[in-house]
């Protein structure tokens, strides 16, 4: 792993072969919220939640996202217990789900509600 934690960013750990569309959407979701991301190649092994947790621990913003080869994703905060991610998207995740995962990661950083409430 290289480049992790050098500048404040949400770290996105991807397994080898993770769909590039997933990475594209996740990074777009965070960018729309104005939070930088950094994609890092992670070694194989471990599920997507463990991956996200490792990313969160390495991130200077305490927030990480993991993506595996199936496109499943998890969003994590470094202070949360490893098995309690902030959000997950299954292997059947759509581009909208990936975009949402990126947005949730950014919103954890910004201290905003993770899902939109009803309009005021």
């Amino acid at each position: 792993m290289t480049g992790s934690g050098e500048r404040p960013a949400v770290l996105v750990y991807r397994h080898r072969g993770a769909p590039s569309r997933a990475l594209h959407e996740i990074c777009a979701g965070a960018e729309e919220e104005g939070v930088p991301t950094e994609v890092v190649d992670a070694p194989d092994g471990g599920d997507v939640i463990a991956l996200a947790h490792a990313a969160a621990l390495a991130s200077r913003l305490d927030v990480g996202i993991g993506v595996d080869v199936s496109g499943a994703a998890a969003v994590h905060h470094g202070k949360l217990p490893e098995r309690n991610p902030a959000a997950t998207a299954g292997p059947d995740a759509s581009p909208a789900d990936w975009r949402r995962a990126g947005r949730i990661g950014a919103r954890v950083v910004k201290g905003l509600p993770l899902t939109e409430g009803p309009r005021p």
Partner: protein
């Protein structure tokens, strides 16, 4: 000693039972030969059935048996059970919106997307992104992007247009892509996104798009003269667009499209007249005149005999609905239906409120705060079937049962068992449907009044003003203090105190405003901040309970003079609220009144006043002495 019971002093055992709208309370006491009262225990259970109906029997028996069991007594020892004569008062609520905002010809997009892009003001002609290539060089264009466009492609198309001399000055997007598009442009422009009905934006029209810097609000489109400058309007036209400017105040981004007859109107909805009959007069008031005008007229028609709404108008429908609901509540199976004409509305409380509602003609789900009037109406009926309940209780328990007194008087008697209270004393019973006041003078005279509006109305105001759409959530906002979840492990209470948790808070509560229920923090489904939710909650309580406390006490105070009252004791479910008693005490303090939450028998808090009062009245009753002498 030869007493009937295994424990306690010899004496006659009596049980006072108060059947309320939501709870049934019982108070067990032993009356000594000299009329002295020893209170032995109390119990509380949920009222079964509608107050004043035979269904109440089950709950009454549960409470009686509960207090007997707690005191180690048997039903066979009970001399008599004393029931309250229920105040024949029930109440209903209605709310009517009196303003409406309508956008015609899709002239305005005034929503607040969470993440607009770029900043500044762009003025140009609206064109679809598909036809950017067809524009002539030198034209200034506001680019409209429908659903399905990728942000990379949008940025590329805008840059390409720029290279061919078409100046794209702003963009309106359907999706949530504004920042992504702006970040990819060679020359950033203001972009408003999340415009759901973007296909309705009129094309080929002059439009202005404004996005303010983060933390700021728009300055030009929310200013009537800014609009006049942008669109070159004359004074008459400026007057016409001023509602647009007003509607956009406080937004971070906005779009205004200049169409031939497009408009934003702020219409008052005629809702009809309220007709109040009382004090030998018949008075009329327009409901859209607002709560203050209505309450002024209600005050002049005191005591109110009845209230009607003008037939065929909103208010007519509103009061008819209240009346019908009450007829339904009073109807009992196997009994002739209660004639609606028998139901007289004896008090009305009007409260100004606002209802966030979606703007008609809006393109992005814009919400406007519309003015509304909430009405609580109170009905008196001649029907009470408490004697039947007493008979059924007697049968079920195997002991005598009778009506021991009228609610208001009994409540004052019970309140007098609060340490530090003396005559003249007034009680305020803060209930669910009505706020009741009773006064006991130094000479022992008692007067009682009931005014419309109490806890239910507070819940309804909170529900509609925060657009919660969920009565249970509104109820919890009313009952519990607020906090903001600041991290997965800590919350900040509304007074600023920080509290940490060992286990992480659930993600759906993260960064949200929560109510601190006994089961833990529960998120409130609103985008408003904690301060706003708190203000809505306190204002709802003030407009109902503080207003009604003053209204009810003025009606029982000698000469309507609050200074003539000395002690005011707060009773009822809402006296357990964490802030209502303080708000009322603050409002009464300038009148030199001692006001606080009751502590019946020195132990029961604001509960059990009527039940304790029934026992007290029984012990003091002259009729009782005669009867007891003969037994």
């Amino acid at each position: 000693m030869g007493g009937p019971g295994p424990a306690g002093p010899p004496g006659r055992l009596v049980v006072g039972v108060d059947i309320g709208n939501s709870t049934t309370e019982a108070c067990l006491a032993s009356i000594g030969p000299d009329g002295s009262v020893s209170y032995l225990g109390t119990d509380l259970t949920r009222t079964t059935g509608v107050k004043g109906t035979p269904d109440n029997t089950a709950g009454a028996l549960t409470a009686i048996r509960g207090t007997l069991a707690r005191s180690g007594r048997r039903a066979g020892e009970v001399r008599t059970v004393l029931l309250n004569e229920a105040t024949p008062v029930i109440s209903g609520l209605a709310m009517e919106t009196i303003t409406e905002t309508i956008i015609t010809e899709s002239t305005m997009i005034g929503h607040n997307p969470t993440t607009p892009g770029g900043e500044g003001l762009g003025v140009g002609t609206t064109r679809s992104i598909d036809e950017l290539g067809e524009q002539s060089p030198g034209e200034r264009v506001v680019c409209v992007v429908p659903h399905g466009w990728d942000f990379d492609d949008v940025a590329a198309a805008v840059d390409a247009a720029g290279r061919s001399g078409v100046e794209v000055v702003a963009a309106i997007l359907a999706g949530d892509d504004a920042v992504l598009v702006t970040n990819r442009l060679v020359r950033p422009i203001p972009v408003v996104d999340e415009v759901a009905a973007v296909e309705k934006v009129p094309l080929g029209m002059l439009a202005a798009v404004e996005v303010a810097a983060p933390g700021r609000t728009i300055r030009t489109l929310s200013n009537s003269y800014g609009l006049a400058t942008v669109f070159g309007l004359d004074p008459a036209q400026t007057r016409q667009v001023s509602p647009v400017a007003r509607a956009l105040t406080g937004n971070r981004s906005a779009v205004v499209v200049r169409t031939p007859t497009g408009d934003v109107t702020d219409r008052r909805i005629p809702v009809g007249e309220l007709v109040l009959r009382g004090a030998g007069k018949t008075l009329r008031v327009d409901v859209d005149a607002g709560a203050e005008a209505i309450m002024d007229v209600v005050g002049r028609a005191q005591p109110l005999d009845d209230a009607h709404g003008e037939p065929g108008t909103h208010v007519g429908g509103m009061l008819a609905q209240v009346r019908d609901t009450m007829a339904d509540v009073m109807d009992l199976p196997g009994q002739p239906a209660v004639p609606v004409s028998e139901i007289a509305i004896r008090d009305v409380l009007a409260v100004d409120t606002f209802v966030p509602s979606e703007v008609r003609g809006g393109l992005a789900g814009e919400v406007a705060l519309e003015n509304a009037v909430a009405l609580a109406a109170m009905v008196r009926t001649s029907r009470s079937r408490m004697q039947l309940v007493a008979d059924l209780v007697s049968e079920g328990l195997g002991a005598a049962a009778e009506i021991g007194g009228v609610e208001g008087e009994m409540a004052v008697g019970g309140a007098l068992t609060t340490p530090g209270v003396d005559r003249p004393v007034a009680v305020l019973d803060l209930g669910g449907g009505s706020t009741d006041a009773a006064l006991l003078t130094r000479e022992g005279e008692c007067t009682a009044v009931h005014v419309a509006g109490a806890g239910e109305l507070v819940t309804k105001l909170i529900d509609s003003e925060l657009a919660l759409g969920d009565r249970e959530v509104a109820e919890s906002v009313k009952w519990f203090p607020l906090a903001k979840v600041e991290s997965f492990f800590h919350i900040r209470h509304e007074d600023g105190t920080v509290q940490f948790f060992d286990d992480p808070l659930p993600p759906h509560a993260y960064a949200r405003v929560v109510v601190l229920t006994p089961d833990g923090p529960a998120p409130v489904g609103t985008r408003h901040g904690l301060d706003h939710v708190r203000r809505v909650r306190r204002e709802a309580k003030r407009r109902v309970f503080v207003v009604n406390a003053l209204r009810a006490l003025r009606q029982v105070a000698p000469g309507g003079n609050l200074r003539a009252l000395e002690f005011v004791v707060l009773l009822g479910g809402s006296a357990l609220d964490f802030e209502i008693p303080d708000m009322i005490a603050d409002a009464l303090a300038p009148h030199g009144i001692v006001c606080g939450t009751g502590n019946v028998l020195g132990t029961e808090g604001p509960r059990n006043a009527v039940a304790a009062g029934l026992v007290r009245a029984y012990a003091a009753g002259p009729a009782r002495a005669v009867q007891d002498a003969t037994t």
